[in-house]
């Protein structure tokens, strides 16, 4: 037994603890060596008290207790220190530069005309309409004749037509409007009927910023008992209010389409300037958006519907121009160009 076991244990401990612990394993070894219940050096001091002369046992005991406290205190501090270092290194391991770009799956988008078309469809679906469809390649009979365009009528001039075979009995053509869907649906389903027919139409015109040879319309047809111009007006007021998100004044002025009588051009009070006049409405306060009217009796008859029993209204509206007004792009040609710099601007709309 050394002369001063307490002193040498403490000295050894101070030296070892002073070097610090690099890892949890080292710490556990140090802690076990000095404080281990079985073989720990500090508990060993208390076991050695039997070998101390009786007179010195009191002083020895209090010195051993002080040593124990010192060792325990130092171990606790090491434990704390170790814990702190461990947390720190875990943090460092999982730390990321949160400002780096995320692995973001780019969102695509629908075409602006599709977006506008769907908005229009949703509004009419809510009003009890069904959505119908018809062929883009149609014949003269459906595109003109049954819509009350007589052969060689100048009204056909306003709809420059792409013909496939001009000499055929009813030449095939690219439809110039969605109105042939009226004929097909009314003939197939009869009255009462309430449909819209969105789709692509074609006009043989030279293309520029405001004219397209390929564009899109939505057609509406309601044939029921007692349908009047008032129903047509009310429907447009409801539609524009829903579409522009606020009550919108509607203006009807007489016009001519062979398949309606009376016929009306429909303008909405410009929602962008509330009618005060702005570049979008060419300072007129009004946006001309649709052609409409009550269905001509000849059209109803051609579809096998008795015009004395049923009346109806119909309208057609261009979607491309509405998209242009709504999204404020400058040139209709952007719609058919497939340019992602353009198309990507509508992702949040879809």
């Amino acid at each position: 037994m050394p002369d001063d076991p307490i002193g040498s244990v403490l000295a050894a401990f101070r030296e070892e603890a002073g070097r610090g612990v690099g890892s949890r394993a080292e710490f556990e070894r140090l802690k076990g060596k000095y404080l281990g219940r079985e073989k720990g050096l500090v508990p060993g001091l208390f076991a050695g008290i039997r070998d101390v002369p009786a007179g010195e046992r009191g002083a020895f005991g209090s010195r051993a207790n002080a040593a124990k406290q010192e060792v325990e205190g130092a171990i606790a501090r090491l434990a704390e220190e170790l814990q702190r270092r461990e947390v720190e290194s875990r943090r460092a391991a999982q730390a990321v530069d949160v400002t780096l770009p995320g692995r973001f799956a780019r969102r695509g988008s629908l075409h602006p005309v599709t977006i506008v078309r769907r908005r229009v469809e949703q509004i009419f679906l809510r009003m009890g309409y069904s959505i119908a469809d018809g062929p883009e390649l149609d014949n003269d009979r459906h595109n003109f004749e049954l819509l009350n365009f007589p052969p060689e009528h100048p009204a056909r001039d306003s709809q420059d037509t792409f013909f496939v075979d001009r000499k055929a009995k009813s030449p095939l053509l690219l439809r110039t409007h969605t109105s042939p869907v009226q004929i097909r649906e009314l003939t197939r389903r009869g009255a009462p009927l309430r449909i819209i027919a969105p789709g692509r139409v074609y006009r043989n015109e030279s293309v520029d910023a405001t004219h397209a040879a390929v564009f899109h319309q939505v057609e509406a047809l309601v044939v029921e008992r007692g349908i009047s111009m008032a129903d047509l007006k009310g429907t447009f007021e409801e539609f524009f209010a829903a579409f522009f998100g606020r009550p919108t004044k509607v203006r009807f002025i007489p016009t001519f389409f062979p398949f309606v009588e009376p016929g009306a051009d429909v303008a909405a009070q410009c929602p962008f300037c509330s009618g005060a006049g702005c570049p979008k409405c060419k300072h007129s306060g009004w946006l001309e958006l649709a052609g409409s009217g009550t269905v001509h009796p000849n059209v109803l008859k051609a579809c096998g519907v008795d015009p004395e029993e049923y009346t109806g209204f119909a309208f057609g509206m261009g979607l491309d121009r509405v998209a242009l007004l709504l999204y404020e792009f400058p040139d209709l040609r952007l719609l058919l160009d497939g340019d992602e710099r353009f198309l990507s601007q509508f992702a949040r709309e879809a």
Binding site: L110, H111, G128, D231, K233, T311
Partner: protein, 705 residues
């Protein structure tokens, strides 16, 4: 069409109508929108848009009649009007002694009126007539020509003046042109005519193309002394056909093809004669020739109060109002009661024939803005959607969610040059060998309608690349066309397609740079599978290598449904198709036949196992030519019990793997629906699978396993 406010004032008090602004508003309300105005006050010129059904409004008198009717103002003929027949007539020979008119085509020329003015000078038209013509942009020429133009713009009736002395036999025959007959018109151009054209001829030859333009030889010149004034009614479709065929659109043809007023002829002749004589002197031969073809009908219609109120949607309007509105517009009232009025339709209104036409007239005057508005009452539920549209929308939504942008393109192509490379695909997709070809295409180099969306989509992809886009991901939903259809069912010529094209850095991220971020075949394949998954389980799609010039050899696949229907093509776009568009980067494209997609199976709950799975991986070397589908089939053919799934988890080629070989790792997942599996039994099954792979496909396992 341009109209002078000052000229209109001859027929209606434009000041009382509110001056330029008032007239503008009244015409808008009448359905003749004023597109622009020039000048101020009385010299205001209005540019008015006139619908093709209203030839009667294509004159100052016609516009004035509308203004008067809309504003409830009196409408009058001008005081200076030549008026009754005979006014201004000199002595001398009666017109029938000077010339004669024969109509050989009575249905195409219902009326031909003529007057003769003898001994005119070469003076210009009266100053006021010239000023008015100039104001609306019509260039003054000579007294006789200006007089006819003046009357056209005043009354809407086109006229023509012949130099009577140049007419062979001094007579006129209205007939069909002879095949190949030549005629030099006032524009100095020689036209070759066809029997469908109507001509005004003299004893020998055609001297004027009826209703379109006069001939040069018999036109009025400075030396003309005696003129024959013509005012006629021509069959509108004939005039339109001739005018369109020859590309000759004139003020006269514009009106005749819309329908002139046969009753306007006598007044128009008198008026023109009076204007000629006013400045160029001469004597009007007594009498006029009124040659008749087929009779024109006096048209009558009746308006019921019930119909008027039904279409108007209001009880506020009555027969009294409608009758007075119609009267103001020139309709002659017949029998009238509180519930009905009969009218004779004016001869200048070819657009009117039925009751609903009268409703429109009454409502125009009433004002559409005064009509009430309400929603039509609900009658029965709507909301039906066309089934294929639902499919298209779902495809579009999936594609947009997957990061693609919807593109649209015009369907005009050249089948040969644009779609030639797609022939194998078109055949698989059911397109006929003949394209639909337009007879009047926008661009002669692209006369055909597309049979596939892919070329248009690749063009769009190329445009994006060319302006520096590093990543391109586009899709299009649209129709394609071909000749294999039934002309009575035009829908049979078209079918619906969905196509996409992806290229470049589709998965680009700083953490995985380089080639890893570039689009490849499996992006395109996965997207196709995912797009089709609402209708077809990807596991049920059959993928087979497909050879088509538009796709790279060995890098394209045809996709079929379980029932063997071709659904899609997917592949690497061929070098030729890319070079054509100057695309260096690989492009992967797919086209889906929307109308071939089978109906979706409704979802039904299937019980799932609540016992744990055991996974086992097998790594082996196999011939590169052994397809994954064969490996998979071989695994399944071994019928391992309780096998839940098998998938490929890794493929490795390169160092350590022999030439032409590939190291494949597959993962087998076992799970029982009734109990927890033991590792031993799974091991037995895995060994069986491994033996089967060795025996049937010659795969090799590393010695250690």
């Amino acid at each position: 069409m341009k109209f002078s406010l000052e000229w209109l004032s001859e027929f209606v008090d434009t000041a009382a109508a509110g001056g330029p602004e008032g007239v503008h508003a009244l015409l808008d309300r009448a359905g003749f929108p004023v597109e622009s105005t020039e000048g101020e006050g009385a010299s205001t010129i209005l540019d008015v848009e006139i619908t093709p059904n209203r030839p009667d409004v294509m004159s100052h008198r016609g516009v004035a009649r509308e203004i008067a009717a809309m504003a409830s103002l009196p409408f009058s003929s001008p005081p200076g009007h030549a008026g009754g027949k005979g006014q201004g007539e000199g002595g001398g020979a009666h017109v029938t002694e000077l010339t004669s008119i024969t109509i050989e085509v009575p249905r195409l020329c219902k009326r031909f009126g003529a007057r003769v003015v003898s001994g005119i000078s070469s003076a210009q038209a009266p100053a006021r007539a010239r000023a008015r013509l100039s104001a609306i942009g019509s260039k003054p020429i000579s007294a006789a020509v200006d007089a006819t133009n003046y009357v056209l713009w005043e009354t809407g009736q086109p006229l023509h003046a012949f130099d009577l002395d140049k007419l062979a036999g001094r007579r006129i025959v209205v007939r069909k042109a002879r095949k190949g007959e030549k005629l030099v018109l006032l524009d100095g151009v020689e036209y070759t005519l066809e029997p469908a054209d109507i001509v005004v001829a003299d004893a020998e030859r055609a001297v004027s193309l009826a209703g379109v333009m006069g001939g040069l030889d018999t036109s009025v010149t400075a030396s003309t002394k005696n003129i024959l004034l013509e005012a006629a009614w021509w069959d509108p479709p004939s005039i339109r056909r001739t005018s369109r065929r020859l590309g000759l659109h004139t003020d006269a043809s514009h009106r005749f093809e819309r329908g002139a007023d046969p009753e306007a002829i006598p007044d128009a002749l008198d008026r023109a004669a009076a204007i000629v004589i006013e400045s160029a002197g001469g004597a009007l031969a007594p009498g006029w020739i009124d040659a008749r073809g087929a009779a024109w009908k006096v048209r009558r219609a009746a308006l019921r109060l019930s119909r008027l109120r039904l279409l108007a949607g209001t009880e506020e309007i009555d027969i009294e109002f409608a009758a007075s509105a119609l009267e103001r517009l020139g309709f002659v009232l017949g029998k009238k009661s509180r519930t009905r009025v009969a009218v004779t339709i004016p001869s200048w209104r070819p657009d009117c024939s039925i009751e609903d036409d009268l409703v429109e007239e009454a409502l125009r005057v009433y004002g559409y803005d005064r009509l009430p508005s309400h929603l039509p009452p609900a009658t029965r539920p709507g909301g039906h959607l066309e089934p294929l549209r639902v499919v298209e929308e779902r495809l579009a939504d999936s594609a947009a969610a997957a990061g693609l942008f919807e593109s649209m393109s015009a369907p005009f192509v050249n089948r040969k040059t644009d779609e030639g490379a797609y022939a194998a695909w078109l055949a698989e997709a059911g397109s006929g060998p003949e394209p639909i070809t337009l007879s009047n295409p926008l661009d002669d180099s692209k006369p055909d309608l597309r049979s596939t969306l892919l070329p248009g989509l690749l063009d769009a992809a190329a445009r994006n690349v060319h302006h520096g886009q590093r990543e391109v991901a586009l899709f299009e939903v649209g129709r394609v066309f071909d000749r294999a259809g039934d002309p009575d069912e035009p829908a049979s010529f078209e079918s619906r397609r969905f196509a996409f094209a992806i290229s470049g850095e589709t998965r680009t991220h700083w953490s995985s740079s380089g080639a890893k971020g570039r689009a490849d075949f499996f992006d395109a394949k996965g997207l196709t599978e995912s797009l089709l998954s609402p209708w077809v389980d990807p596991a049920e799609l059959a993928w087979s290598p497909f050879s088509c010039d538009a796709f790279g050899s060995g890098a394209a696949a045809l996709v079929k449904s379980a029932s063997g229907h071709t659904l899609a093509v997917v592949g690497l776009v061929s070098r030729a198709e890319r070079e054509k568009r100057k695309l260096d980067e690989d492009v992967f494209a797919s086209e889906i036949r929307v109308d071939a997609i089978p109906a979706a199976r409704p979802a039904r709950f299937e019980a799932f196992s609540s016992f744990p799975p055991i996974e086992a991986d097998l790594s082996f070397g196999n011939d590169k030519k052994t397809s994954w589908s064969r490996i998979r089939e071989t695994v399944l053919a071994a019928k391992p019990s309780d096998l839940e799934s098998v998938r490929v988890v890794d493929r490795y080629e390169g160092a350590g793997v022999g030439e032409g070989r590939v190291k494949t790792t597959i993962r087998l997942v076992f799970r029982s629906s009734g109990r927890t599996l033991e590792q031993d039994e799974v091991n037995r099954e895995v060994r069986r699978v491994a033996d089967e792979l060795v025996a049937r496909l010659g795969v090799t396992f590393a010695a250690s396993s």
